[in-house]
């Protein structure tokens, strides 16, 4: 059974599978992504949660659970394996006649720590298999937020975190460039569908989740989910920052379907990086020149994104980090 695309927010309906009642920060971006993704997947879904904010903040009390579909914790590095173990169990039980035939979605919702760092090998392994309706979603809040904001390999250049604080000698904070996890996943030939997404445009994530589940193979989506605590902003701005991330080109939205690349959003005029970064306390120490240099790096990347889009195939957007003056 194929999941239909959603044209308007109204079509998506009101039933939640990740429901109310979790101790996340006010304005939590990953929680919004979780709601949208699980709504898109629907009731015939098993959710798996690697350790992270979406594990620890969603639980905490006994005799409470926000999940209206089966949910099971997996270790921080276990996301890839947990998804494949679950999918394999369904396939084995169904093919051996031990369970009735039915299409079950397996959705693993893990953070950047779980999928870009410690669980990266497991994710990579899982995506070399051909399990259907197996979807890995990386909610990228650009740090280990649940342990008090430590840098991960998707923390952007210039961000201050507790492991990359700015100081008298190290002015910049995080000096590593953000790893583009989704691009590396696209290099797995068995993956039918790879996409990046954000909370903006509104139904972008929902439709990508449905495409991914329909794709007939394992799939991967990386969503940029602003984190009020880790990025230091007023919780009401979560969606505003998602929009700015997309409009400034700091976060490129694309999908890669069976070998064909396309940008799903092209900023009409890429601008406003300074506004985007100045809204986030983690960049306050950066000078306007720093931001301009970063903007030039993004400009270089966009030339390659657009060229990739034109050629319908991926050209790796290699760019050196902005060197501090």
């Amino acid at each position: 059974m194929s999941l239909q695309p959603i044209r308007t927010p109204k079509e998506l309906g009101s039933i939640d599978y990740y429901t109310s009642g979790h101790r996340t920060c006010a304005g939590c971006g990953p929680a919004i992504g979780y709601r949208l993704a699980t709504k898109a997947a629907g009731p015939k879904t098993v959710l798996l949660g690697p350790t992270g904010c979406m594990y620890v903040a969603n639980g905490h009390q006994f005799l409470t659970s926000p999940y209206a579909v089966p949910w099971f914790h997996t270790q921080l590095g276990g996301g890839g394996a947990a998804g494949i173990g679950t999918a394999a169990a369904f396939r084995a039980l169904i093919s051996k006649g031990k369970r009735k035939r039915e299409e079950i979605n397996v959705l693993v919702y893990g953070g950047d720590g779980g999928f870009a760092d410690i669980g990266y090998a497991g994710l990579s392994m899982a995506l070399t298999y051909d399990y259907q309706r197996l979807l890995y979603i990386l909610y990228d809040n650009e740090s280990y937020a649940n342990t008090g904001i430590q840098a991960s390999s998707t923390t952007p250049w210039g961000a201050t975190t507790t492991f990359t604080p700015t100081g008298k000698v190290k002015r910049i904070g995080n000096e590593r460039m953000k790893k583009n996890v989704a691009l590396t996943i696209a290099a797995h030939p068995g993956v039918r569908y790879v996409a990046t997404s954000a909370l903006y445009p509104p139904m972008d994530l929902v439709n990508k989740v449905r495409k991914a589940l329909n794709s007939g193979g394992p799939a991967f989506i990386q969503i940029l989910t602003p984190c009020p605590k880790g990025w230091f902003f007023d919780p009401k701005h979560t969606i505003t920052l998602s929009r700015l991330a997309v409009e400034t080109g700091a976060w490129a939205l694309w999908e890669y379907e069976e070998g064909t690349f396309s940008l799903t959003y092209k900023p009409p005029k890429r601008q406003g990086l300074r506004e985007y970064m100045r809204m986030q306390g983690r960049f306050t120490h950066l000078s306007d020149e720093d931001i301009e240099r970063l903007d030039r790096v993004i400009e270089e990347q966009w030339k390659l994104w657009l060229e990739s889009d034109r050629q319908r195939r991926i050209i790796l957007p290699w760019t050196p980090p902005p060197t501090p003056l």
């Binding site: 998506l12 009101s14 599978y17 009642g21 009390q61 008090g148 605590k229 919780p235």
Partner: protein, 362 residues
């Protein structure tokens, strides 16, 4: 469960909000514990381990403990107080008095009968008392209340709150607090503390808890297996508990549990009744139905599923983040203060997140 050894110690607890007040809360207990040390008592201060890491708006607690060096501090990993410990209860955001704590307990749950309550607020003390009587009383309270508009003294609200506390409390003298400031290199804040001390007007309070006292819960008999029905019965009992004590009484014995930590989520269309999250809220959305175009953006963008499909807010879960009002394309949603919405009162002492972010340090 009361443990006399712990009750003999002198305890102060600070109720505040994650990220908004983290710096202020830790500052306050650090100074208080240092004051205890200056006075020659063995003293500790700490953030409740369970609240780590702090989260935006989520209530959290800091403790300062002074007293018997033979008894170690016990609450490092506990969910709630062991018995009635607190001699002083400080509340940095008065809207917290309108809701339960993040542990679904009451602000005065663990307070001694003669506890001092210090509230940072612009509201009249009598209004604060009304709400305490209505929502925060688990036991009789025969102590004192002092309210103070902390930010009119200093943006670092720990200092005026300490002054107000010292006025109402005989456990720590103002001189010891000033000594602590010297020791911590914060001597320049002494005038703030002294001024708040001078101005503070504690009032004597006697509130009876009446029927709010502990109620025995009806729970199902132990079964061999922890089935859905048993789970729901325990869940409903815990969710309906009014105090920490009642909630702990709803926690099952091991014989009832299924192997492998099984819980049950809501059925589709339901919500997590075991964990309402109104405690995160100091603002709430108000929807102008005349303007609403039924676009559903507020519903889909609510991190907590609190904004209904028809733009009706579920106040059990709304955390007051304000996303709905930001994403509304026709500006039909505005955010109003909790006090205003509930009691028609304006709280001027609200620390906004913008201000907090400027001060908030890791």
């Amino acid at each position: 469960m009361a443990i006399p050894e712990y009750e003999r110690l002198t305890w102060a607890v600070v109720h505040c909000r994650g990220v908004l007040h983290t710096a202020h809360g830790s500052n306050l207990v650090r100074i208080l514990a240092t004051a205890g040390m200056v006075a020659g008592k063995e003293s500790y201060y700490y953030m409740r381990y369970d609240d780590s890491p702090e989260r935006d708006n989520v209530p959290m607690m800091f403790y300062a403990v002074m007293g018997d060096p033979r008894v170690d501090v016990v609450l490092h990993e506990e969910v709630e107080p062991v018995g009635r410990l607190f001699d002083a209860v400080l509340v940095m955001d008065s809207s917290m008095l309108l809701h339960r704590t993040s542990q679904r307990a009451l602000i005065l749950d663990g307070a001694k009968e003669d506890a001092v309550l210090v509230v940072n607020t612009s509201l009249p003390a009598v209004r604060v008392l009304d709400v305490v009587r209505e929502r925060q009383l688990a036991h009789d309270w025969r102590g004192s209340l002092v309210t103070i508009r902390a930010r009119t003294y200093d943006p670092e609200i720990a200092y005026p709150l300490l002054g107000a506390l010292a006025k109402a409390w005989n456990r720590v003298r103002i001189g010891d607090i000033l000594g602590a400031l010297e020791l911590l290199g914060r001597g320049h804040k002494a005038p703030v503390v002294e001024e708040a001390y001078r101005d503070a007007e504690p009032i004597k309070v006697f509130l009876r808890a009446g029927e709010k006292a502990f109620k025995k819960l009806e729970l199902p008999e132990s079964r061999e297996w922890w089935d859905l029905e048993t789970y729901r019965a325990y869940q409903a009992a815990a969710a309906g508990a009014r105090t920490y004590e009642e909630r702990m009484a709803a926690m099952p014995r091991w014989e009832v549990l299924a192997p492998g930590l099984i819980e049950f989520g809501p059925t589709p269309g339901g919500k997590n009744i075991g964990f309402t999250t109104s405690f995160e809220r100091y603002l709430r959305p108000q929807v102008d139905r005349g303007k609403c175009t039924d676009c559903k953006l507020c519903h889909h963008y609510c991190p907590d599923g609190a904004m209904g499909f028809e733009a009706v807010v579920d106040l059990n879960y709304c955390t007051g983040c304000g996303i709905c009002s930001e994403v509304c394309p026709v500006k039909a949603i505005s955010m109003v203060g909790e006090w205003e919405a509930e009691k028609g009162l304006r709280e001027e002492e609200l620390l906004t997140i913008e201000e907090a972010l400027r001060e908030y340090m890791y």
